[in-house]
Symmetry: C2
Subunit: 213 residues, 2 copies
DNA sequence: CAAAACATACCAACCAGTCGGTATGTTAAA
DNA sequence: TTTAACATACCGACTGGTTGGTATGTTTTG
């Protein structure tokens, strides 16, 4: 199992290398604009290997989303923002952590599953579902801390921990889009700063605060 | 000028119909996955007409972004949210207006230029620039009201009117992505509600409020 | 040796873009 | 006012290259 390629050994097995290539190329070009040949070339693998591991291009998209979930999941699980005593501090430290990641090329810090969802949500429901699982699964890891922070401060706004957790991801995704449009990572950092300010204000407000309408 | 097509008359000239088709199809399939033939078929136009009006597919993308700017610009310019005496009310009414638009199919209310940017920012800088002009141009229409609201309430946070205006667009774009992932417009509405809450809190806070770090 | 993991060769469909031609004005000189 | 010259708008067959996918052969591993 996990045999190495003739073309380009010493870089792991074909499947992993194809998924790595997909992560990088799809992030900068999108899913539809990325051809199977291009992926094979980048991974140093032939088409035979590609269709041995993936039934079709859509299946690679699904696998890439899952691979993204696993790798980023591991990154966030071991990140230092969990090491705060206060739950609100953990949430704010998460936002800071996301802020610190934003640097260098856009392809390096933007979100694969956000990019793919936007593009293929209609044509490839299977990929859409895998992306949704990745996004909302990651958001769910924030929920306990948000919930605990609400309880600790007696916050009872017209919003839920799940909704705020999802919103953090929405702000990040939107910040990435604007950064791509402006071709400037600083725009993304601006968005994260607004997010941190929002969370801070939410938990500064009176226990019943943050309501409107 | 503006001659009608043989294939499908009584629907305006070929150029406009191609741009209408691009708006609808690209929103649901993305730019790369949309073929010229598909656009021609949907517009009731032949390839000859397509390449008469657009030098290449990229040029259509640029024109589609500009067309989007013009049509949505007219929509927002005549929208009723401008009819409030207080500038902050105008800003909040804008957010309400954006909220009300979210209904029905995702392809009907999501943003063409946000979708395109995400996909082609690297491969087609010309389209990226046209999308950026659309997004930040629209954001700029909010700036005077935000600025006036800040002045009226003596708000001096560590953020600018331009940055908050941009952030409104980031939240909307991100909300659209999550709605696509979840295949549920309600997710987008949640995001807009958080945005309104944020703006409300920003202007409720003490004059020097909303600072952190 | 059996089966998984690759490589090679190939195909039909589709792709963006081209090109020669037609239909319908518009302009302006005779 | 006729008409020649020119411009714009559009048509549709065609092309060279690319696409996702397949069929089959070879190599490695357990």
């Amino acid at each position: 199992m996990a045999r190495k390629t003739n073309i380009d050994p010493d870089r792991g097995d074909a499947r992993t290398r194809l998924l790595d290539a997909a992560r990088d190329i799809v992030r900068s070009q999108g899913f539809a604009a990325t051809s199977v040949d291009q992926l094979c070339k980048a991974a140093g693998v032939t088409k035979g290997a590609f269709f041995h591991h993936f039934a079709n291009k859509e299946a690679l998209g699904v696998a890439a989303a899952q691979y993204w979930s696993e790798t980023t999941g591991a990154l966030f699980a071991t990140a230092p923002y969990h090491d705060h005593a206060d739950p609100l501090d953990r949430v704010l430290a998460y936002v800071d952590f996301r802020r610190d990641i934003i640097a260098g090329d856009l392809e390096a810090f933007t979100c694969l599953v956000g990019t793919m969802t936007q593009e293929v949500y209609h044509a490839h429901p299977a990929i859409r579902e895998a992306c949704a699982a990745s996004i909302f699964g990651h958001a769910a890891t924030l929920e306990p801390d948000i919930e605990a922070a609400m309880k600790a401060r007696g916050i009872k706004g017209d919003w839920t921990a799940a909704s705020l957790a999802a919103h953090t991801q929405a702000v990040l995704q939107g910040a990435f889009i604007l950064a791509k449009a402006a071709d400037d990572p600083a725009v993304a950092i601006d968005g994260v700063d607004h997010l941190k300010r929002y969370i801070t204000l939410l938990f500064q407000a009176s226990p019943m605060g943050g309501q409107h309408d």
